[in-house]
Amino acid sequence: METIHTLLIANRGEIASRIIRTCKKMGIRSVAVYSDADRNSPYTRQADLAIHIGESAPASSYLVQDKIIEAAKKSGANAIHPGYGFLSENANFAQRCADEGIIFVGPNVKAIEEMGSKSRAKALMQEHGVPTVPGYQGEDQSIETLTSAALKIGFPLLLKATAGGGGKGMRIIHHESELTTGIEAAKRESLSAFGNDELIIEKYVASGRHIEFQIFGDKHGNAIHLLERECTIQRRYQKVVEESPSPVLTEDLRKKMGEAAVKAALALNYDNAGTVEFIFDEQVNEFYFLEVNTRLQVEHPVTEEVTGLDLVEMQIEMAQGEKLQLQQADVKGKGYALELRLYAEDAANDFTPVTGTLTRFEWPKVNGLRMETAVESGSEISVFYDPMIAKMIMHDTTRKGVYRKMRYVLENMVCQGMVTNQPFLLELVKNEAVIHGKYDTHFIANNLHTIENKHYTEYELSLFLAAATLIDWKKRDNKKTILRSLPSGWRNNFYEFQKNTWLINEEANELQYRHLDSEFLMKFGDREFITHLLSIDNQSIRMEVEGAMYVFNYSSVGENYFLQHGTMGNLSIKKKARFPEREIQKTPGGYEAPMPSTIVKILVEPGKQVAIGEPLLVISSMKMENTLLAEEAGIVSEIFVQEGQNVEAGYLLLTLKSEE
């Protein structure tokens, strides 16, 4: 088979960077493609060549096969690596590549096709004696059939897009009442994300653990597995923590599951990198096949760290038709690896994705740390793509070491400009249950109250606010043109302190201060304390409070301040304006977009009578769907948006006239 000399990466962000790295190592020319929004993304500069493929929305760029193929031809690429997501598990695309004489770095079309349909995958696995979860995977996709099948399986159950993965098009249904809207939404989400609205229904294994095996096959009938990854800790059905080895697998179980995974690979004539996912029921020590992902996974670095292999390199070798060099017996895990996904999302607010500009992104150099980043200081997290900022991978000889080091990294990492899950991740790696591997797929949902957002002590909070207040003060002080040498806020007949009100998640915290000759007298709550401002530049502030020195890294954008302290953590706060906006005549019964989003579906029309809790609109933001429900009964008076429209946060969507 042909040797790959030029590889086009039909993807973006960190995975594009990752693949380019291996290309460089192997002496392969790399070609990046980019949309409008990615024009300044680091990966476009890392590649040997970069080609613009359209507007920001994936449907106008990364998902358009013609554009990708055209870019490949233009750049002379003889192979395409699809990365994950986008076209990675699209059999049509793999076929298209073959037709165009371009090597598709992935498994054969048939394997993708078969695993692309979860129902067929399940049936195939059953044929080959791999255990599966009870459920419905029929071809009849009418709402009625799905509903009755669902009722037969019982609640809770899981609706999954046949073509899905990564949690998209997946929902858990607890009650019959949610079923119909749930099925409709899942179908819609699946259609928009994968171009196919088929669903499968599965019994929801309540306290399962998600364990997957990395498989590799060649075109010569060989298949092996590269051990497991445990990805049990998830939020919104998306993984946040991945580690290997799994803390619950015995050698025996590992062997059994590994064999099942290889069996699955062989059944598919699998000839590239893939992942066989299982749900493991700890209670009964049973595991069930969930699905095969026919692509390189987001969490592949965990396997790389443990096995010492370069999976992208192996993928390229397999795609070139080379034989697997490795025997199953050669695969030995070394030490422990942990991956955390750093997201621009608000853990305290149901992990809502956030957008913004990363003003500062730096991390400490720790042995064993591998950062796979999509961004750099100054990068933007846009509404168009997954809000992942980086994957943080730690490798060490012991599991304890991995967690200890990761904790240190999270404490000292500076990631500012928007709300991220950094504090949440820090709380996770500090959590005793997590450290001891005692968790299930509901871990976050069930423990959110304890790990949600760090609760600072009053004392810690006063330090953060003092730092923010001084940074803010310094900004004003620098702008003074006259009387710069007079003590700030000087009074000949003192009445009250200067005040700064800081909003932490909408909650107001007032810090009062008075500038004395060389220090600040501060007041927070009932406590008064003296703060010495020792030094300040545009990145960090050093101050002394009650005999201790504190250094904060910071960045600020407008009224938003992001502060980070080594041991206390991160805080994102906003300065409250001294003068509130004139009370906007808030439209009574007005519904506003909670975040920047796209209007997916309008479920009502003007004049329609709606009951409380009735769905009004479906909006989508960063590929997550959300249904807006009526907060009170009433009549829809006006709708201000159209399906497909993109709106900013706070945009008035519709008004409802209440019944009285």
């Binding site: 006259i482 007079l486 003590p487 000949n492 007949n493």
Partner: protein, 533 residues
């Protein structure tokens, strides 16, 4: 520039004793400042709070730019006046930054006697008006006042009109006045917003009319409500007396800040850009340096050493007329000429002062007068030496000088010395006093002594026996009476100064007032009166 070498030893017994004495006076001053913060009885304040109102001083704090300095003027006015409303009256006035511009702020204390105007409050307003005009400051009035206190009306009515006249005269000069009405502004008071360039009325709060419902009923038999006669909505929508309808107090203050942002910028004569060097000797030491007892002499250079940048002082004619120290220095970067008394004024000192004032006028440099004098020297030799005509030269120079003057009372201020050294009647831009300072025609003991001599002469002439015992008692009473009338507490109560200060704050007061006087063009006088030779 040469710096002053201090001869004061802060560890000396004398220094420590004086510091202790001065601290007592400063403590007393603090106590009075505390009284000036009184904004009305608890029940009035509670009521205001319940209605979502801010207090007068809170309004000022909110109006000011964050971290802006604020120089309150005449905070102790009226503190010893019998029958008045107490320390500071019912108005808070001062200078600070609003939207980056130096600005006069007047805030009625609506929670204290309904913000109605007593004698001290009115005369404070008149003095503040004078400062505003002379310093070319824009003004923001925070209005909530019931108008003249009726029991004082006979004493104030005739003078009160000037406050309105001043608003429009300033307007003619291009100085903006913005008035926010948070409550009552009725009858004459209605002319505060009425005369202003801009007026902002708070919804459901402003009440602005010439006559309220009872008077209207009396006059014309018309029945009308407060809102109909003078509510914010009526004035904003119908009469046009209000330019802006504010939702609430915050909104009103925000609007005033917005307006101020668009008023024209001042054209400062000079703005220091170099980093400011603090004095070599700490201003804290002023407590031990300046004698609490004005009878005790001290070298005024010791004070200058603690207020001038780097303690640097370019002294003029140091070897001549040594009882008046003259020279130039910088304070917070602002060039300034200083005239400081080192005792009684002789002909030489007066002539030197007159020359120094002329020179400062030629160079457009503001002047600071540090008053500590028992007056012009008396006696045969001095009269023969023409102390009158030489003293007159100093008064001529002070009166006709056109650079801004700032006077500080730091000890005694007796007789014509008060005039020659730019006392109240010579209209310095600002006049502040230390709590130890004394103002009178002469020292109290001298005065009692003079009285005794006259009485003794009268008795002798009429052949009556002189009652020594009674005379001694009378003398003692006279001394006490004169002492109290000459005290700084009395002066400040009578509005003879713009405020008393803690000596340690001298440099800050001067820096602030210099920034204010330097905020417009400074042009010295080209001509003076006839110099009697």
């Amino acid at each position: 520039m040469q710096h002053i070498r201090s001869n004061v030893n802060p560890n000396s017994q004398q220094f420590k004793e004086n510091e202790a004495e001065m601290l007592k006076l400063v403590e007393k001053l603090k106590k009075h400042f505390g009284e000036s913060l009184f904004q009305g009885e608890e029940k009035h304040i509670d009521k205001a709070r319940k209605r979502g109102k801010l207090l007068a001083r809170e309004r000022i704090e909110l109006l000011l730019d964050q971290d802006s300095p604020f120089l309150e003027l005449l905070p102790l006015a009226g503190m010893q006046m019998k029958g008045g409303f107490g320390t500071g009256g019912t108005n808070v006035s001062g200078i600070g930054f609003v939207s980056g511009k130096l600005c006069m702020i007047n805030s009625n204390i609506g929670t204290r006697k309904g913000g109605s105007v007593d004698y001290a409050t009115l005369f404070k307003a008149l003095r503040v008006g004078e400062i505003t005009r002379e310093c070319a400051l824009p003004t923001v009035n925070l209005v909530e006042s019931g108008g003249a206190n009726l029991t004082d009306q006979s004493k104030i009515f005739n003078y009160g009109g000037e406050t309105f006249r001043e608003i429009t005269r300033r307007s003619k000069m291009g100085l903006t006045t913005i008035s926010i009405v948070f409550g009552n502004a009725t009858a004459g008071g209605a002319y505060v917003p009425g005369m202003s360039d801009f007026s902002i009325f708070q919804k459901n709060a402003a009440k602005v009319f010439l006559a309220g419902p009872p008077l209207v009923k009396m006059a014309t038999n018309e029945i009308a409500t407060d809102e109909e006669l003078g509510g914010a909505e009526m004035h904003s929508r119908i009469s046009g007396v209000s330019d802006y309808l504010a939702e609430d107090e915050y909104d009103a203050i925000r609007i005033a800040r917005e307006i101020m942002e668009f008023t024209k910028d001042a054209k400062p004569h000079f703005v220091p850009t170099e980093p400011v060097v603090p004095p070599k000797y700490h201003p804290e030491e002023l407590l031990g340096v300046v004698p609490a007892n004005p009878k005790q002499p001290f070298d005024v250079r010791e004070l200058i050493a603690r207020i001038a940048d780097g303690s640097e002082f370019s002294e003029f004619k140091p070897e001549y007329g040594s009882t008046l120290v003259t020279g130039w220095c910088k304070i917070h970067g602002y060039p300034v000429g200083i005239l400081g008394n080192n005792g009684v004024i002789f002909s030489e000192s007066a002539n030197k002062g007159a020359q120094f004032i002329q020179l400062s006028n030629k160079n457009n440099i503001p002047l600071i007068f540090l008053q500590n004098t028992t007056g012009y020297m008396v006696g045969k030799a001095y009269e023969e030496g023409g102390i009158i005509k030489n003293g007159a030269k100093l008064i001529n120079a002070v009166s006709n000088s056109e650079v801004p003057h700032i006077t500080l009372m730091i000890g005694s201020s007796y007789g014509a010395g008060n005039y020659g050294m730019n006392g109240r009647s010579y209209h310095p831009r600002f006049l502040f006093a230390y709590p130890n300072s004394k103002i009178a025609v002469m020292g109290s003991e001298q005065m009692a002594g003079v009285m005794e001599i006259i009485q003794r002469a009268n008795a002798e002439a009429s052949g009556k026996p002189f009652d020594e015992q009674q005379a001694a008692m009378l003398k003692q009473m006279l001394i006490m009476e004169a002492e109290s009338k000459a005290s700084a507490w009395h002066s400040t109560s009578e509005l003879w100064d713009d405020g008393l200060l803690d000596p340690r704050e001298t440099r800050n007061y001067l820096a602030f007032t210099l920034a204010i006087v330097y905020n417009q063009e400074i042009k010295g006088a080209d001509a003076f009166g006839v110099w009697r030779m």
